[in-house]
């Protein structure tokens, strides 16, 4: 058992360049993995656990605590609707309903063709431009249902 751990550690340490294996690097390692593939796979959890010499349950326990981490492959386009207070006051929840009904998916789900996935975010900090929607990292302000529909149509076209 010990042997296999050491073996794993030597092979895996190569994949985490710039990390020294200290336990406080766990969050940064998870972010590093997510940046590479867009999500954290079971394999990642195992690798990180070996690398830091902690249990897989601990790695997954920390990862699942934070809203940022995803465990399923994301869609090509990531749609995030802002759930912030300013957006809520400006009826941002309508955008959430609209997106879900247009895409036919629920929160955290990906369309069957893998093109879009839908998420909600606590606040994007662009409150003066409420209601706000983020698509692939680009923030669109002062959104309405109509604008959102047009925007999504533009993304639908390959």
């Amino acid at each position: 058992m010990d042997d296999s751990l050491t073996a794993d550690r030597t092979t895996d340490s190569a994949t985490f360049e710039g990390f020294s294996g200290r336990p406080d690097e766990l969050l940064s390692l998870l972010q590093y993995c997510q940046n590479q593939k867009g999500f954290i796979s079971q394999e990642n959890v195992r690798e990180i656990a070996c690398f830091l010499k902690v249990s897989e349950a601990r790695v997954f326990g920390v990862a699942s605590f934070y809203a940022q981490f995803r465990f399923l492959k994301p869609g090509d386009h990531q749609i995030r609707v802002c759930m912030g207070t300013a957006c809520h006051v400006q009826e941002g929840d309508q955008l959430s309903h609209e997106t879900q009904s247009l895409l036919g998916v629920g929160l955290g789900e990906t369309t069957p063709d893998g093109r879009f996935d839908y998420q909600e975010v606590a606040c994007l900090g662009c409150c003066a431009q409420a209601s706000v929607v983020e698509i692939d990292g680009k923030i669109y302000g002062k959104m309405t249902r109509e604008k959102l529909r047009k925007l999504l149509e533009a993304y639908e076209q390959p």
């Binding site: 605590f65 934070y66 207070t85 300013a86 975010v121 409150c127």
Partner: protein
């Protein structure tokens, strides 16, 4: 030291040529995240294309956020011999027109300008008001935001030219005790919201004996509806970093960490660049400016957990744990990150420190009122006309903020949420309250980090209470029972009320739950999570009772508790509502009164938004009200 002074002299010369260009015009574009959301990057492309097309020479600089976000995107142009002139709500087409007119024809198009940064004479000559005389900006005092939107946040020379890092140089010449003394004189209190005197934390951390100490900047701005820290970092990152540097020198720490929300990628990018520049100028690393002081700053990204804004939870997160708060004491100043003494302050607190050291603690006292000195930034958003980032002296009343700076609301004012999701909803009768840490607490709210969300008649207080408790329920870490279960009870009860199934005893249930949570929760989140509900019940009890007893939501938000009706006397028959209705529930010819079919209506509010005459209103649900009457008769 001389080295930095020499660099600053050169930076000042360069700044002067930028502020008063001799031949090359300068174009500034506000492109912080909020400006980008309003389309600043498209404007940037249009400017570059126009310059290429007409073969014009100009320097284009992307600056941060100057504050009045409702004017975004903002573009400024400085022509040789003319002050910087600002244009608001610039679209790519408008940018093209202004650039061509200004740079080719020398006509600055005064009619399109929103303000300028020059003298009174220029106003007399052109009729353009001074930018800082605009109604939203005039009552403000800019200490923390003084550079925001004016300098290039990615150029350390701009910051140096504004007197940047002189506060740090002064600190180096003094001893740590005098730095703390200056902070004490200034009366600066923690800007994260709790209002703990800043100097006390610094003093405790200095006094703690350990071989390693940390300085942590809390930039995990999790309050939905607040963006002060994001704007400050994106617009003037060096101010925050200088504050951390001073903190490191004063407390004897050698490692600084800035913990930034992952949702703020631009802020992270600007910090990275700023830290590189600090290294290049010998402001980080070993033996900084020949003083023998070693310090370095690392950026750590958060991972989307609101509770990590709490200092002990943030430290847990930095240690690679689940971000769960720990009981205090021991306080981080004694036993913080990895068990070492840690100075942990909010971004804004660090951002204020350089100005205090530069100008002295006494200077800072002139702003605000005794016990609550200085200025504080707020994000003014919601149903207010002038939205944006503001900075005011503490002690200003809510009324001045909402009506003088914010320009009031479109529909009658109803409430203001202060202190984010853990704060309280204050009503119109509290508008004369001066903003101080104590007065906010007395009113059942908190200062918080500074989100101000304005609500008008079309906002439902019960729905807002449900929204905030829903947020707290999601973000509760689950560590202590009062918070984990309490938020759930409040959420379930409010959902029940919003569905129209509220009972008289629900109010009492919520009051008791709120009290338990406040008294027994482990950290600030649980203790304050019930504030929005409690303050809502305190100041808007009638609205809760209407939801419970009359099954009616007057604000027309809770979809089960009203139906829409078109007021015949107000309808002009313009047809706008007919065109936006996605379910064809509204009928009517142009210039004739329209009718709304309640059975088809999905209450999406689209029609209400487009009706300029406010002719569509929510009335009590006829069927449900009838059912209710029937039940009353039976009982």
């Amino acid at each position: 030291m001389n080295n930095l002074d020499a660099i600053r002299r050169q930076a000042l010369l360069n700044w002067d040529t930028l502020a008063q260009p001799k031949d090359t015009p300068v174009i500034y574009l506000g492109s912080a995240s909020c400006g980008r959301a309003a389309g600043a990057l498209n404007v940037y492309e249009a400017i570059q294309e126009t310059l290429d097309e007409y073969q014009l020479k100009a320097r284009v600089i992307q600056v941060g956020c100057i504050g009045p976000c409702y004017l975004e995107p903002l573009m400024d142009i400085t022509l040789p011999g003319s002050p910087r002139v600002s244009y608001a709500n610039v679209t790519p087409e408008k940018a093209r027109k202004i650039v061509v007119s200004s740079l080719v024809n020398g006509d600055i198009l005064p009619k399109l300008a929103a303000g300028h940064f020059g003298s009174e004479e220029f106003t007399a000559k052109t009729g353009i008001p001074r930018f800082f005389d605009l109604p939203m900006l005039k009552p403000q005092v800019r200490v923390i935001l003084k550079n925001c939107g004016l300098i290039d946040p990615e150029d350390i020379d701009h910051y140096l030219a504004q007197g940047g890092y002189t506060g740090f140089q002064k600190a180096l010449q003094a001893d740590p005790q005098s730095v703390i003394c200056e902070l004490k004189v200034s009366g600066l209190r923690g800007r994260g919201g709790a209002g703990f005197p800043a100097y006390k934390k610094w003093e405790l951390c200095l006094a703690a004996a350990a071989e390693m100490k940390y300085v942590v900047c809390n930039a995990d701005e999790g309050d939905p509806g607040a963006f002060m820290n994001r704007a400050l970092i994106e617009s003037d990152p060096h101010a925050v970093l200088e504050g951390m540097l001073i903190g490191g020198y004063t407390t004897g720490a050698s490692q600084g960490i800035i913990y930034v929300r992952a949702e703020y990628p631009l802020a992270v990018a600007r910090l990275k660049k700023a830290i590189q520049q600090m290294h290049a100028y010998g402001l980080l690393g070993e033996d900084i400016q020949g003083s023998g002081f070693n310090f370095d700053i690392q950026i750590r990204e958060g991972a989307g957990a609101f509770v990590c804004g709490e200092e002990t939870a943030l430290i847990a997160s930095l240690e690679g744990e689940r971000g769960m708060p720990r009981p205090r004491p021991p306080y981080p100043a004694d036993h913080g990150l990895n068990g070492f003494p840690t100075l942990i302050n909010n971004t804004e607190t660090f951002g204020t420190v350089p100005s205090i050291l530069r100008n002295g603690g006494k200077w800072f006292q002139q702003f605000g009122i005794p016990g609550n000195t200085g200025t504080k930034t707020f994000s003014l958003v919601g149903k207010v006309r002038n939205t944006g980032l503001i900075e005011v002296p503490l002690g200003m009343t809510l009324k001045q903020i909402v009506f003088d700076i914010g320009g009031g609301t479109q529909r009658p004012f109803k409430a203001i949420q202060t202190g984010g999701p853990l704060g309280g909803c204050l009503s119109a009768s509290q508008m004369d309250t001066a903003i101080t840490y104590e007065s906010m607490r007395d009113q059942g709210s908190i200062m918080g980090s500074g989100g101000l969300i304005v609500m008008d008649e079309s906002t439902c207080i019960v729905d807002m209470a449900r929204y905030f408790i829903g947020f707290a329920e999601k973000e509760s870490c689950g560590n202590c029972t009062p918070c984990r279960i309490g938020t759930r009870i409040l959420m379930d009860t409010l959902e029940k009320i919003v569905r129209g199934e509220g009972e008289a005893r629900d109010l009492d249930t919520m009051r008791r739950t709120a009290m338990t949570m406040t008294q027994a929760s482990l950290c600030g989140l649980g203790q304050a999570a019930s504030n929005p509900t409690s303050s809502g019940m305190r100041y808007f009890l009638a609205e809760f009772e209407a939801h419970i007893h009359d099954k009616y939501c007057q604000a027309a938000v809770c979809t089960d508790l009203f139906e829409y009706k078109i007021l015949a006397e107000k309808c002009s028959g313009c047809g706008l509502c007919v065109s936006v209705c996605s379910v064809n529930a509204i009928e009517g010819e142009r210039k004739k009164i329209h009718h709304l079919d309640g059975s088809r209506c999905i209450k999406c509010h689209s029609c209400v938004k487009v009706c300029a005459r406010h002719a569509i209103i929510g009335i009590p649900n006829s069927t449900r009200a009838a059912e209710w009457d029937f039940c009353e008769v039976l009982s």
